[in-house]
């Protein structure tokens, strides 16, 4: 399939803050003058189930949904969900995974998840975003911005640090602003 636009899938577990992350990426892409479409889910799926959101930006985007295989970047807020999403990854897909585990009934062990990721031979990067945010910022939820900072710093996403910082200021409520900026900077460095 053609792949002129930049296609992102965000994945994780309901309640992890996927929509805030989506809003920051959407806004940053908008600031950079891209056309954008994104798609998210609310409701039942948010109650602790697997959730994914799609973002596409570029010169002209029609569909808000990313085709299987046509993904440039997957950002997974939870490891098993990262492994699950990797099924749709193509050769060019980078998979950025938070080394964080939310086990459930009949879930895989940490070791099994990492083993399966290794076997999958996909292009994945495991980052201890939640752990670092917990230790340094006393807050796990901002792992989302940490991962985005990492992706921008390592040039996994065609967004500049400046536009993301502006986007954070436009999207995040005043009282959480510093915390989110700190998480982004922490991931970026």
């Amino acid at each position: 399939m053609t792949n002129k636009n930049f296609n992102i899938i965000l994945t994780g577990v309901g309640g992890q803050g996927i929509i805030t992350l989506l809003d920051v990426i959407d806004e940053a892409a908008f600031i950079q003058g891209y056309d954008i479409r994104s798609s998210e889910l609310h409701g039942l799926s948010q109650r602790g189930g697997s959730v994914e959101a799609h973002i596409r930006f570029g010169k002209k985007v029609y569909s808000p949904m990313v085709n299987n295989g046509d993904i440039d970047l997957i950002i997974a807020l939870e490891a098993l969900e990262g492994l699950r999403e990797s099924e749709k990854a193509g050769k060019q897909t980078k998979i950025l995974i938070n080394k964080y585990f939310l086990p459930f009934l009949n879930s895989f062990s940490k070791e099994e998840i990492i083993k399966q990721l290794d076997i999958s031979k996909k292009d994945f990067i495991l980052v201890s975003a939640s752990e670092t945010c917990k230790n340094k910022l006393q807050n796990e939820v901002v792992c989302t911005l940490y991962l985005l900072g990492y992706a921008v710093g390592k040039k996994l996403i065609p967004l500049s640090k400046e536009s993301v910082l502006r986007a954070i200021k436009n999207v995040i409520p005043e009282k959480y602003l510093d915390l989110n900026i700190n998480a982004f900077e922490l991931g970026h460095d």
């Binding site: 959407d26 908008f30 056309d35 479409r37 697997s50 009949n106």
Partner: protein, 544 residues
Amino acid sequence: MKKILLGNNAIIEGALASGVSFVSGYPGCPSAEIGDNFGKIAAKNGVYAEWSTNEKTALEAAIGASFSGLKSLVNMKSFGINVCSDSLLPLIYTGTKAGMVIVIADDPSCWSSAQTEQNSRAYSIFGHIPTLEPSDPQECYDFTKLAFEISEKFNIPVMLHTTTRVNHQKMPVEFSVIERSGDFVKGEFIKNHHQFSTMPPRTLEMKAELLEKIEKIKNFSEKSKINFVKGNRDSKIGIITSGVSYLYVKEAMENLEIDLPILKLGFFYPLPTKKISDFIKDKKKIFVVEELDSYIEKEVNILAKNVNCKLEVFGKNVLPEIGELNTEKIAIALAKVVGKKFVPFKITKNDLPKRTARLCEGCPYWYIFPVLKRIAPDAIFGGDIGCNMIANLAPHNLSDYMFAMGAGIGISHGVKKSTEQKVISIMGDGTFFHSGIAGLINAVYNKSNLLVVILDNRITAMTGHQPNPGMGKTLMGDATEELSIEEIVKACGVKNIKVLDPINMKELEYAVKEFLVKNDISVIICKRICALLAKRQSAQQHDQ
């Protein structure tokens, strides 16, 4: 101004720009943000907004507003139209006075819907309801404005039919912000019995007036720019599509590197049949791309008989009738239609354990479901809609049947009357006020001795924490009467009532044991605040 907007928020902007002043609805996914966000901005825009007790009372409130000269917006999810249809159909006969737009948000693939994969467009046809179908947030804004114009011009409510991928899509939207005063300007009800009361023989006259109106709206639809043709007009193969499918069609054509003419229909009802006939008359093949049922395709087949009887019509013979569409499904089908090769991406299946929805940490239901299961393992369990539908899933696996809002108690009554078995029916506080009370009255009146457990978590939680009549607060944040479930249950004639905090599991256990052997109906009200709400409230107090 240009800003990234969610489809639902674009509908709000469109309604504000159209001068809406009365908003009513019932929360459901994927439409809930319309009411939620109106609640936040209504007062400063001089708008009255409410969450009604159910979709029927929501529509009726808007009918009253329209008859009093106020423009109204009604919002609900797919199943809501089933609930309000009893008043919706006569409304199409009487017509509106001030403009009214009704947003019906379907959920193909059932992302947040339990009961059916409903295609609400069926109502447009059998109720003669003018219906527009936006593809994206920009069209949500534009079409909401147009829907108000049509409604005002023809004195008829207009349905805005959306789907999850439209309501929950974001894109930069061009819209105008109109300065509005914070004063809610009241209307005046001018008596017009002739127009507002359906009563034979007037009813049949009204039907004739309606059909005449629809003919006029059809002419409007024929000329409307929201039904347009795009792409290479010389091609002998054409595509007809509407709603979000239009976006997938554009992508699918890019993927297949073909350029076919597309007739994009913004109107679903009445369809611009002349425009469609014009489009199909010199084609060899037409591919109709629509989600779920094939309403447009059937119409195309009928029209083709007159203008192009050799036309080959493709639609549900190459596309699935179940589940939402996407670019890949359409590309596969389109490849068949044009005779091209298309190899879809092969996903490498990892057979992973499925993570389904579950009760939140600290949810009061964690205390209730295990007790019910332990004390009454052989009982029949009636489930209902809301967070308690997670009782269907592991590890609870509790519900023996689940249908629609408030349906659990109704079916449980039937089971109880028909068998010697113990029956326990659960429902949430939101459902109790929505339609559960009617089922309770029927069970009392017709002498069922079932056990009803009302899970009162003090809010309508599943759809995003909307206030309900049990909370003493309205959508706009005003204090109001806090209706007591206990008093209502008592007034319905129930003698065996127990109100308890389910965290006291022993007390719940005793109550279940005691009530299961009663000869008349019993109700246990498990009152404990939703854990997420409790956390949020304590954080808010902390901030202050």
